[in-house]
Amino acid sequence: MSLESIIAEAERLAFDLEFQGVKRWKEAAPGRRAIGYMPVYAPREVIHAAGMLPVGIFGGGDRIEIIRGDACFQSYICHIPRSTVELALSGRLGCLDGMLFPSTCDVIRNLSGMWKILLPGFYARYLDLPQNFDRRVGGRFHRTELLALASDLALLGGAPVTEETLRASIALYNENRRRVRALFDLRRRSPHLAPAVEAYLLLRAGCVVPVEDHNRMLDAYLEAAGAGDRPALDNCRVVLRGAFCETPPLALLRTIERAGCDIVDDDLVLVSRWIRDDVPEAGDPFEALAHAYLERSVANACRYAGEEEKGADLVAAVRQAGAEGVIFAAPSFCDPALLDQPMLVAALERAGIPYTAFKYSEDTGQFQPIREQAGTFADSIKLWSQP
C-alpha cells in the first residue's frame, strides 16, 4: 500500500462519525459486541479478550453540528462531552453495546451518570483507576475492578475472559505498543518522514478497528514512511502537551507544523501508549494489567504523581526527542491540563526549555492566531536558543 492510501484510509476511519467500520465488523459474525471508551486510558485488553471490539470515542471534533449536546452543558464546560452527547442522542453510537468512562476529570466522571439518565438501560460504567500505586492496595483495587469489568462484559454477551484469552490479548496489544513505540522513534529520528498529523490519524484509526488490523496498518506505514524520500525541513522541534482528552482539529496540528514546528512528541491518543512498555505475558494476567497501570503508566495530569515526577517526565521527553521547546495546547476549561500546566512550566523554566501556550476547542476554526504564535515561537527558538 502506498503511504497516501494508508493515510487516506486512516483518516476515513478516524473521522467516520457513523462508525461504519464498527458496524461492518459486528455484521461480519453473529453476536459480536462493541464497547466504547472515552479517552484517556482503558484496559482494551479485557474488552478484546471478551471477543468484543474496543471503540475509542473522541467526540465529534469539528465535523458535527451540536444541537442536543449544547443543551446539556453550561458555557464553561469543555467541548468533548457536548459532541459526545450529540453522537449518542443522534443515534450515531447505536452500534455500541456499552460505554466506559475512565477516571479523567469531573466532567467525564459526571458524563457517565448523564449517560445513565439520558440512555436508560444502556451499559455505562465509570472506570475508577487507582490513585494509590502500592500493589497491595491500589493494585488489589484495580485488579478487582478489572475482574468486575470482565464479569459485566460477559453479561453483555461477551465471551468469558479467561486467563488464557486475556494473556493472548495482552500479547497482541504488546505488539501494538511496540509498533507505536517504533512510530514515535521514527518521528523523533526523522520527523519529516512521519509528521504528527499522520501519526495522529494512524493512532485514531487504531481506536476503531481490531488491534490485529491496526498492527498491519502500522507495519505498512512504518515500511512506507521509513523508505520515503520526503525532504527534511529547517523546522524547530517541539513537544506538544495538553491534548490528551479533547483532541484539536486536524487543521490545528497542520497549522503548527506549517508554522515551522516539527512535533516530535505529543500526548494525543494516549490510550495507545499509556502503558509505556510491554505488559508481562506470564502469570496472572489481571494482576499483570493492574501492576502495569500502577508502575508503567505515563505521567499524565489525570493521574496522581509524586513531586516533580510529571515535570521531570516532560523534561526527559524533551531531551529524549531532541526537542527545542514545548507547546502547551490545552482545551478550554480542561481542568487536568490547565491545572497541571503551571507545574510543568516551572519544571521547564528550571531546565531552561522554552515554551508557549494556547487553548483550543475541538471545533476551533480560527487558526491564524495559532499560526502566528507557533511561527513566532519557532522563529524565537531558531534565532535565540543556545545551540
Partner: protein
C-alpha cells in the same frame, strides 16, 4: 458606606466564635507544638486528625471566608498573574493567591505552613491538582487517600476495603510521622461517638424544615449550621454542645411557629418552599440570600449542606468500627455520588419537604457539582412534574456574580410558581366557564 448589622441566631454567633477560635488555634499551632495538616471538607478525617492532636487547615473554608470578606478578587488576580488559567476553579486560585500574599488567613491571622497535606480525594478531581500545586510550594509530604466514586449508586465491599487499606498504609503512618504520636484507636472511637451525637442533632435540625412554616433556611442558614460539622469540630465536646444548643434553638422556633432568622430579622411569611442544588455564591452571600427572603422564599432542603457528609439518609460515624466508618463516611459525601443518586436525593427532598419548586445554582468553578446539572434539572422535572429554575454564578470570583441577572431569573421563577398555584386553585377552564355564564 456602613453596612447594616445583620440579625443572627444565637447559634450563628456561636458558630462564628467557634470558627474564629479555630483560626486563633491555627495561628498559635507552631508555638503550641501542634502539627498542621491541610485537608479538604468532603472526606475530611477530622476525628482522626484530632486524635493525633493535629490542627486542620481546610483550604475551601479559607477561600469561602476570604470570599465573604471581600478578599478573594485580589487573591484570584494574584494567582492568575502567576500563570493559573482563568478557566479553572476559583477556590484553588483564591487559596494559592492567599498563599502568595503571605498566607494570612481570612481573620487576619497567619495560617501556618503544612506539615502534611492529607489529600482526601473525595468527589472532586481538582482536589488532586490543588494539593499537587501546594506540595510544589511547600515541599511537604502528601498522604493520598483515593476515595472511589460511587458510580453505580452502590458502595461495594471492595471500595470500603480499598479506603481502609489506604488509611492503614498511607494515612496513619503519615500522621504518626507528622505528629510524633502513635495511633490511638480508643481515642478515635470516643470522638466518633461524639460525632454521631452531633450528627443526630444536625439531622434533626435539617429535617425540621419539613414543618410549615420551616423554622430554618436549609441553604443560607444551613451553611452556618454545617460549619462546625464540616470543619474542625466533629468529634469534639464543643461541636456536640453546639449542635445540642442549635437543636434547642430551632425547637423553640418550631414550637412558636416562627420561620427562619434572616439577616434582616425573623422571616414573616413563608410564600415559597424551595429545594436548592449547588453551592452558594460567597462574594455576595447576603445579597444573594436577600433575593430569596425578600420574596418570602425559604430553602427547605439543599444538597450543598451534604458535601461534607450525608447524614440524613442514615449514615452515622460508628465508634464500633472506626476505620470502616471513616471509609463509609468518605464514600457517602454528596459529590461522590453519581448523578442518578443525586437526582434521587433531590426528588426525595422535593416530596418529603413539600417543596413548591427546585432551583439549581450552577457555579462555574465546580465541575464536580455543575457538569450534568442541566440533565439533572430535566430529569427532576420529569419525575416530579414541577418546573425547575436555573441560575449561574461562582463560588468566590465576584466577576461571575451578576446580581441583576440572578434576581430577574429568580423573580421570574417564583412568579411562575405563584401563577401555577393560582391556576391550580382557579383552573383557566373553570374561569372561562365562569366568564361565559
Amino acid at each position: 458606606m456602613t453596612r447594616e448589622r445583620a440579625a443572627k441566631e444565637p447559634s450563628m454567633v456561636r458558630q462564628k466564635e467557634l470558627i474564629a477560635g479555630h483560626y486563633r488555634r491555627l495561628a498559635r499551632a507552631r508555638e503550641a507544638g501542634e502539627a498542621v495538616v491541610y485537608t479538604f471538607v468532603p472526606g475530611n478525617l477530622t476525628e482522626l486528625l484530632l486524635s493525633f492532636g493535629a490542627a486542620a487547615v481546610l483550604p475551601e473554608i479559607n477561600a469561602l471566608q476570604s470570599g465573604m470578606r471581600g478578599k478573594s478578587a485580589d487573591y484570584i488576580a494574584r494567582a492568575e498573574k502567576a500563570g493559573h488559567s482563568e478557566d479553572v476553579c476559583t477556590y484553588v486560585k483564591c487559596d494559592l493567591g492567599m498563599s502568595l500574599a503571605g498566607n494570612v488567613g481570612p481573620t487576619g491571622e497567619p495560617i501556618p505552613r503544612p506539615d502534611l497535606l492529607l489529600l482526601s480525594y473525595t468527589g472532586c478531581f481538582t482536589f488532586m491538582k490543588w494539593f499537587e500545586l501546594l506540595r510544589q510550594q511547600y515541599h511537604c509530604p502528601v498522604a493520598m487517600l483515593h476515595v472511589p466514586y460511587v458510580w453505580n449508586g452502590e458502595v461495594t465491599p471492595g471500595m470500603i476495603a480499598y479506603v481502609v487499606d489506604q488509611i492503614r498504609s498511607e494515612v496513619l503512618p503519615a500522621l504518626e510521622k507528622a505528629t510524633g504520636r502513635r495511633f490511638d484507636e480508643a481515642d478515635l472511637s470516643r470522638r466518633l461517638a461524639l460525632s454521631a451525637r452531633a450528627e443526630d442533632d444536625l439531622v434533626w435540625v435539617l429535617e425540621s424544615a419539613r414543618n410549615r412554616p420551616s423554622p430554618i433556611d436549609a441553604y443560607f442558614g444551613g451553611v452556618y449550621y454545617i460549619g462546625p460539622m464540616f470543619s474542625a469540630f466533629r468529634g469534639t465536646e464543643e461541636g456536640a454542645a453546639y449542635y445540642g444548643a442549635l437543636r434547642g434553638e430551632v425547637q423553640e422556633r418550631l414550637q412558636a411557629g416562627r420561620g427562619p432568622i434572616t439577616p434582616e430579622g425573623p422571616m414573616e411569611e413563608e410564600r415559597f418552599r424551595l429545594v436548592v442544588e449547588g453551592p452558594p455564591n460567597w462574594t455576595s452571600f447576603r445579597e444573594f440570600w436577600k433575593m430569596f427572603y425578600d420574596e418570602g422564599a425559604v430553602v427547605v432542603a439543599s444538597t450543598y449542606t451534604k458535601v461534607g457528609g450525608l447524614y440524613d439518609t442514615g449514615f452515622r460515624h460508628d465508634p464500633g468500627a472506626p476505620l470502616e466508618s471513616l471509609a463509609r463516611y468518605c464514600l457517602g459525601c454528596y459529590t461522590n455520588l453519581n448523578l442518578p443518586s443525586r437526582v434521587d436525593l433531590l426528588e426525595r427532598y422535593v416530596r418529603d419537604y413539600a417543596a413548591d419548586g427546585f432551583l439549581i445554582n450552577s457555579v462555574k468553578s465546580c465541575n464536580s457539582f455543575s457538569a450534568g446539572q442541566l440533565v439533572m434539572l430535566r430529569e427532576l422535572e420529569r419525575r416530579t412534574g414541577i418546573a425547575g429554575g436555573f441560575i449561574e454564578s461562582d463560588l468566590v470570583d465576584p466577576r461571575y456574580f451578576s446580581a441583576s441577572n440572578i434576581k430577574t431569573r429568580l423573580e421570574s421563577y417564583l412568579q411562575m410558581i405563584a401563577q401555577k398555584r393560582l391556576e391550580a386553585h382557579h383552573p383557566p377552564a373553570a374561569a372561562a366557564e365562569g366568564r361565559a355564564s
